[in-house]
Symmetry: C2
């Protein structure tokens, strides 16, 4: 089966083997060594020397952790969003009582740095900006480097959802001065879902010290004090830590620039491939099309959900549908993590064969 959704991504055999290892004491030295080793390797791929924690939960849990550890009820927050996941991030902040200004960009377009600048200028009380590097629902990657530079002009907290891009698309956490950056194990990391990772900057820790949103399970102070003992505050998802220990070695061996280049090439291949089949890309400007997930328009001629079904049932290729307002209108091909040119060729070949069966 070709699992070509934007996460969970397929896992290499070495990773699946690690998932099957027996349990150990999560308060013992062996786990402590592994936790410190995994964290160290993860930081290299985050391009950061900030603190970094591995949480038991899914990516959305990591987003909630970022919000509740940085903010207080009533804090003014700017949400710069262009899809389902940007909206979700804002919803989380609002659920916890933040005063969220929703700066919404058209779905299919990236977050516009100038739009962010105008919003920050017009409200000096804004304390933090919520950003999504890679909007998985639309297949659009925003230019976090430029946007972060704008936000840093105003010295605001920068909290970024990099769930479906970190470790696949360049994200220089320290160089770009991003305060809290979140990802999830089932994306570029090539391991099963169940872990969220969050980095915390010095500025982030200062904000944390003032942040009054209620929290317990996700509390960074607890993460910090337990990490010093080689532990997590609550029982960690040990198997997935075993697995990511293995996959991080694979990633470091491939090298970050090679990983980025591979994803860029696979993204390009996918976009060219779907266009050559007469389909059109959902992103309005191909320069911002994501290198981890390609969103493709359905049309009056091509029924997207029907195509998904035929691909799955007749060709054993699993792609995703649209989310939110895009339900039924697009389909999405994941090409992140453990994926090769041969996989993409197989996927494109299957789409080519399925299309005549679903075209009106």
């Amino acid at each position: 089966m070709q699992l070509r959704i934007p996460g969970p991504t397929p896992c290499p055999p070495e990773v699946l083997e690690a998932m099957g290892k027996q349990m150990i004491n999560h308060r013992g030295g062996q786990f402590g060594d592994m936790l410190k080793r995994v964290t160290g390797k993860m930081k290299q791929l985050y391009q950061t020397e900030n603190d970094l924690y591995v949480l038991a939960g899914s990516g959305t849990g990591g987003l909630e952790a970022a919000v509740v550890n940085m903010l207080s009820p009533g804090d003014k927050v700017l949400s710069a969003s262009n899809g389902v996941f940007g909206k979700r991030f804002a919803d989380i902040a609002e659920a916890y009582g933040a005063d969220v200004t929703r700066l919404q960009f058209e779905w299919g377009k990236p977050v516009d740095p100038d739009g962010v600048r105008i919003a920050l200028k017009s409200d000096p009380e804004i304390k933090a900006v919520l950003l999504t590097q890679n909007e998985t629902s639309t297949g659009v990657t925003s230019d976090v480097k430029t946007i972060a530079a704008v936000i840093n002009e105003f010295d605001k907290l920068i909290i970024v959802d990099a769930i479906s891009s970190m470790g696949c698309i360049d994200f220089q956490v320290d160089a770009w001065k991003c305060d809290v950056v979140v990802t999830g194990s089932q994306k570029g990391w090539m391991v099963p879902p169940g872990l969220a990772m969050v980095s915390v900057s010095e500025r982030g820790w200062k904000a944390h010290a003032q942040a009054k949103m209620p929290r317990f399970y996700w509390d960074f102070t607890k993460c910090k004090s337990y990490f010093e003992k080689g532990q997590t505050p609550w029982t960690p998802a040990i198997s997935i830590v075993y697995a990511i220990d293995v996959s991080l070695d694979m990633m470091l061996k491939e090298g970050l620039s090679n990983i980025f280049a591979r994803h860029a090439k696979l993204g390009d291949m996918t976009r060219k491939g779907v266009k050559s089949l007469g389909l059109s890309l959902f992103p309005a400007d191909e320069r911002y099309a994501s290198n981890t997930v390609t969103a493709v328009n359905g049309s009056e001629k091509v029924n997207a959900p029907k195509l998904q079904q035929v691909l799955r049932e007749e060709f054993k290729v699993v792609v995703s549908g649209g989310q939110g307002d895009l339900t039924g209108k697009i389909f999405r091909i994941g090409h992140l993590g453990w994926v090769t040119e041969a996989d993409i060729k197989e996927t494109l070949g299957a789409i080519g064969k399925a299309l005549p069966k679903v075209s009106a």
Copy 2:
């Protein structure tokens, strides 16, 4: 290695094999079928027809979910506690703004039903009671059936931490009218950590509809609406769901009453064994000693942490130390989940051999 801590517990080979299965689409029919199947089987072991959800997180996440879904800031809550985990449950409620009355019983003793009655009588504004069935830190099991009957006289919400007891020690969720009952995958369920399970009663749903504590990731309303589609709101920990699908079959095959009898026998064997070695049990009254974890006193003659170390290093038997105020004073032997009489004999044998090495 004998991993004899009260979770994570060792996993059977069939379970570890399931952990190594490849990823699938978490929004597809195959996952949906599995989620519904797992939930159905879990309900049998919970002895409930209430709704039940599988959350990506550890047991503490399940406790937080129970609190934030049932209560509003300012709600009066009675915490009946007798150890580290009872205290933690109260801390969570307080972190989210509940007005918590802490009814604390001596560590080593169970929660006293009459104490609960007096507390409920003296404050009619109490809305909910937080209980721990099995206090893992002290090896004491409280009589939830009797305590719940008392609480039900007052028609208050009953929220129970059954993390280290559900599926090992009798807990009749429906018969005892308990509203939210929490457990975690790495305990009696014989699978790795990373899932929390929560059941929700009709009375629980009514409370939920009024509950105003902020929540997003753990929100039961979202769990309910996604479950109807055979999904979880956020990406589930697929591997651990594979694993529990297998272990639940093993448990149903063994049968609930046989599982309870096995744990009772193993608990008895462990207690008799440690006493025959000249050690004393931490629980004040053996009738309340837990059948999933045995807490044993260190003494001036027997240094508990040293015993732990010798057991681990020389006999490959891993037991736990004390927590909180009991750090350094007791050690704890886990005997829950995938454990046999032979395992306990091996553990007791190792303790017998290690004792002379650590006795002053």
